[in-house]
């Protein structure tokens, strides 16, 4: 059982007010428990939690480089195994670290079958270096390396399907989560650390600074991503989807129109083609994962 009152990520860290990844850090440790060793990649969470010597971590924590957290964790896990110790090894990496630069180390570590849990906190860009696009940045989002303007409507490519890639490595447990559904997220972390072998959780973590919204709206933003079908919450056991969160879907506009990174889709003129393309992504997700709750009768107008 997850102990909600367990606080292993302390006050005094330097994240922006309302930071989604900071909420993720707290929830991860509540789910994983005190016998955990954390390996972090370079990125916002590492930077805001560890300016020497002011660490926010109350469990053993190690950081080496941007790209090699999975390799460092492989060594930690192999050593624990040799010593006959039972601590859980949890890797926490940003989306840039996970989807892009860390791919090689991650693929190798999953192939070797280490007993660890890899958690990617997905704020959908390289935030710590000033909002550059990553393989996790959604279609049409404006970032500093995919700026919207006269010749561009923002990021050209859709988000990479990282959970499926790791499921294809034979991971025994793969799950997606969101900081906006804390109980669900903590349970998934608990399940992953208690599953033998390399497990993967991708947690959607809205970033007020990078997406352009007020910090008091972080939880609402994450909920909207789920309620529009742009972020699907599911669990996969041995490669098969076993549980999916169903929703009464809202139009994607409700999510897009509240963030500065999508403002160019509405101003100066509405870009119907791009909005329709994003709606098509949500419709595809809904169909693929069967997330729609079918209402018995049409709601009254």
């Amino acid at each position: 059982m997850v102990d909600k009152s367990l606080e292993l990520f302390d006050c005094g860290h330097r994240a922006c007010g309302g930071c989604g990844p900071a909420i993720a850090a707290r929830l991860i440790l509540k789910g994983a428990g005190k016998d955990t060793i954390v390996v972090s990649s370079t990125g916002c969470m590492e930077v805001f939690s560890s300016p020497y010597p002011e660490t926010a971590w109350k469990v053993p924590w190690i950081h080496s480089l941007f790209e090699n957290a999975a390799a460092v964790a492989s060594g930690v896990e192999a050593s624990l195994k040799k010593q006959g110790r039972s601590e859980k090894v949890v890797i926490i990496g940003g989306d840039g670290a996970t989807f892009d630069i860390g791919m090689l180390c991650i693929s190798g570590a999953f192939e070797r079958g280490h007993d660890f849990t890899y958690i990617c906190y997905d704020n959908e860009a390289y935030m710590n270096t000033g909002i550059q696009r990553s393989g996790a940045t959604p279609y049409a989002a404006s970032t500093t390396t995919s700026p919207a303007g006269r010749c561009s409507t923002g990021n050209k490519r859709p988000k990479k399907d990282m959970p499926q890639i790791l499921a294809a490595h034979g991971a025994p447990y793969v799950a997606t989560a969101s900081v906006s559904y804390p109980a669900d997220f903590m349970q998934k972390v608990e399940k992953a650390v208690n599953t033998k072998g390399p497990c993967y959780i991708q947690v959607h973590a809205p970033c007020a600074t990078g997406w352009g919204f007020e910090g008091n709206l972080t939880m609402k933003m994450g909920k909207l991503a789920v309620e529009t079908g742009l972020c699907v919450l599911y669990e996969m056991v041995d490669g098969k989807v076993t549980r999916v969160k169903k929703v009464v879907r809202k139009p994607v506009e409700e999510y897009l129109s509240t963030q500065k990174r999508f403002r160019h889709l509405f101003k100066p003129a509405r870009k119907d083609a791009e909005i329709a393309q994003i709606q098509a992504i949500a419709d595809f997700n809904a169909e693929k994962y069967g997330i729609d709750i079918k209402l018995k009768k049409e709601p009254a107008k």
Binding site: D10, C11, R14, G17, R26, L27, Y52, V59, N216, T218
Partner: protein, 86 residues
């Protein structure tokens, strides 16, 4: 500043960095409509919402950055944001 071997640091040493000075708005926990559900404590990115002996919740103003998430998420609407006076 001296570095220790392996760059180790005492757990939770971040508490010596008082982030409360960042605050522009202050969450005031009214304890009026509060049902003690604890959602404020769960969602606070700082982990600075504490439960007192009477089981009501309070923000620790030494660390609260005033982001307003607790106030937005409180289902009972018991937490009000007030302009900080300095």
């Amino acid at each position: 500043m001296a570095l220790s071997v392996g760059c180790t640091a005492r757990p939770g040493k971040s508490r010596s960095n008082r982030t409360g000075s960042w605050r522009v708005f202050r969450p005031v926990f009214k304890h009026d409509k509060c049902t003690k559900c604890g959602i404020c404590a769960l969602v606070c990115p700082e982990g600075c919402v504490e439960q007192s002996e009477d089981e009501f919740y309070e923000a620790n103003y030494e660390f609260c950055k005033g982001c307003g998430l607790c106030s937005d998420e409180c289902p009972a609407e018991d937490i009000e944001m007030e302009q900080e006076e300095k």
